[in-house]
């Protein structure tokens, strides 16, 4: 039996990438809130994002954490990630549709739900067209 990897399938992503990205997003949050005149809220957001980054960085024993972090991601976790992303996208689109209907029913224009829904629809149809032509 072979004792060397037949064909490695784990992601080659560094374990530092996702925590660094999460912490960087916290800094962007801080900057945005600071510009908006709410630095305390920004500091709270930064603290939350840095906390998430630390959990991602030190939670190496968990299959889920390693998958989220990227360095423990294999084909099974990629499938889980795809399904979870689809579910999250479905929930957001449902919220956009409900929000749009409520806005319209209350006599308003439906903004910003109208263009959010339009973006979702255009991206979905574009993705279907591109992915269909590639498979």
């Amino acid at each position: 039996m072979p004792t060397v990897p037949c064909s490695p399938r784990k992601s080659g992503m560094s374990r530092w990438y996702q925590p660094a990205f999460t912490a960087s997003l916290g800094l962007v949050l801080l900057g945005a809130f600071w510009i908006g005149g709410h630095p305390a809220t920004g500091l709270g957001g930064l603290g939350l994002m840095v906390g998430m980054a630390v959990v991602l960085l030190v939670g190496g024993r968990s299959d889920t954490i390693r998958g989220l972090r990227g360095d423990g991601r294999d084909e099974r976790f990629a499938m889980i990630d795809l399904r979870a992303s689809a579910l999250a996208g479905f929930a957001v689109i449902m919220a956009v549709i409900v929000g749009f209907l409520v806005e319209v029913a209350e006599g308003r224009t439906g903004s910003p739900y109208d263009w959010l829904g339009a973006i979702a629809g255009v991206v979905y149809l574009g993705a279907i067209w591109v992915l269909r032509s590639r498979s």
Binding site: P2, T3, P8, R9
Partner: protein, 66 residues
């Protein structure tokens, strides 16, 4: 999809972790395949069959679903 991975691994005396390392996947993925909660991709199924030096159809059984 039913498979013989657990039986083959047991008769070879190797651990899930060892097989996972050889396949380049997580131990949890090997466990999910053995318990038939996850159907591996064709490349991984072929790699598993080659690892145990068996034809892929002797390792994985479509179980009437194809």
């Amino acid at each position: 999809m039913e498979n013989e991975i657990r039986r083959l691994r047991g008769s070879s005396g190797i651990s899930q972790a060892h097989l996972a390392q050889a396949m380049g996947v997580s131990r949890q993925t090997i466990n999910s395949i053995e318990t038939e909660r996850y159907t591996p991709s064709l490349p991984l199924a072929l790699a598993l069959a080659r690892y145990f030096e068996k034809p892929v159809e002797e390792v994985f059984h479509a179980n009437g679903s194809v």
